[in-house]
Amino acid sequence: MTIQARDRVGMAARVAADIPEGWWVNLGIGIPVLVADHVPLDREVVFHSENGVLGMGPAPAPDKVNPWLINAGKTHVTLRQGGSYVHHADSFSIIRGGHLDLCVLGAFEVAQNGDIANWSRSDNDFAPAVGGAMDLAVGAKRLWAVMEHTTKTGESRLVKTCTYPLTALGAVSRVYTNLAVLDVTERGFVVVDIVPGLDFAGLQERTAATLHLPA
């Protein structure tokens, strides 16, 4: 049986399955923003965008675009009934004040102690951009990271210690990859599920950090 790795949409759908009704959620740019498409509208989840939008809805029809309404990725979005606007300081008060139930961010690396690196690939980055990542990682009630399990050259992104510049310390509680879902615990990474075609040993083989089975 071949490994049925998840593609980007598959990862987003897998994250979406774990978001219960009633949560207030921020989705980072990249794979995370795709998550919204996989939460059915009748499961009310309120999506927050750092630029001061609460209650984002799906992308507009091409002829219904409101040019004044974008998300953090600068893509046009819609506003659901019940949605509202705040300014940037208030928007980040929502983030930093611990009012969001969840933030989902992309990552370059996640360490077994929950450290996350997702904003800069090197200390000599010629023009690093951080955006709201450090605020979101520290502020939300829980932080989930979504990323490919390995780099294009096959190196594990789940590591013992991050090598890239850190975004936040000990912040990630769960990681979703194309191969597995893992909780970050005091023991380190605990495997929640693995895609069909791959077993625990195979996953460990592809992972630099030590994996654990649930207690």
Binding site: G82, I95, R96, G97, L100
Partner: protein
């Protein structure tokens, strides 16, 4: 479906524990959640710390709560309002603790709690009795006092209209401390004049977004009292 509406004031008070810090909105009588305060009196929690701008008047509302010896400490800026004799008697008798905070520092400390700012510097009160014992620093040529965030376990908030997500508007000067406190507590309980359909409040007009609100109860009343 997200639905923060509860059936009545009694249901809204569920789970408030002895020893809780309770933020109470209002400035004077305007924006004061009188019906929720009555609910708290009924509910029975004791040993409370109350954070409010004033300390209640006559013998109802906050004053009644104090008279019933349910308040261990009050944190406020202006306890000596006209007619606030219950507080004054208890304070004179040493039966209630007072933490007096400049009104702007009081508002900012709760704003900080809601915004995830554990502490901040302010020039307010530097060199006065109210800054005694507090850390100070000179920043940009100004002498400042370090003040800490003031979070609540519970906030009792009066708003004007609300929807089932908990989005709120306020009426005129009834806004005052209410939106600040709504953001600063773990459990935010709101009384509104009326609950409207989701989508009825214009997105630009929402002052407190529902993310801050836990429970919403409709208690139409005639206007500010006390």
């Amino acid at each position: 479906m997200i639905d923060k509406r509860v059936a009545n004031v009694a249901a809204a008070m569920d789970g408030i524990t002895d020893g809780a810090t309770v933020l109470v909105g209002g400035f004077g009588a305007v924006g004061q959640p009188n019906q929720l305060i009555d609910g708290l009196i009924e509910q029975g929690a004791r040993d409370l710390t109350i954070v409010a701008n004033n300390s209640g008047v006559a013998e109802f509302g906050l004053a009644k709560l104090m008279k019933l010896r349910r308040v261990r400490k009050i944190i406020c800026s202006f306890p000596r309002s006209a007619g606030s004799f219950v507080f004054e008697e208890l304070y004179r008798a040493g039966e209630i603790e007072l933490e007096l905070v400049p009104q702007g520092t009081l508002a900012e400390r709760m704003r900080a709690a809601g915004a995830g700012i554990p502490a901040f510097y302010t020039p307010t009160a530097f060199g006065t009795k109210l800054a005694e014992g507090k850390p100070t620093a000179e920043i940009g040529g100004r002498n400042c006092v370090l003040e800490y965030a003031l979070p609540g376990d519970v906030a009792l908030v009066e708003a004007w209209e609300g929807d089932r997500w908990g989005n709120l508007t306020y009426k005129d000067s009834g806004r005052n401390f209410n939106p600040v406190m709504a953001a600063a507590a773990k459990l935010t309980i709101v009384q509104v004049q009326r609950i409207v359909e989701l989508g009825a409040l214009p997105p630009e007009a929402v002052v407190t977004p529902g993310v801050y609100v836990d429970r919403l109860v409709a208690v139409p009343h005639e206007g500010p009292q006390g």
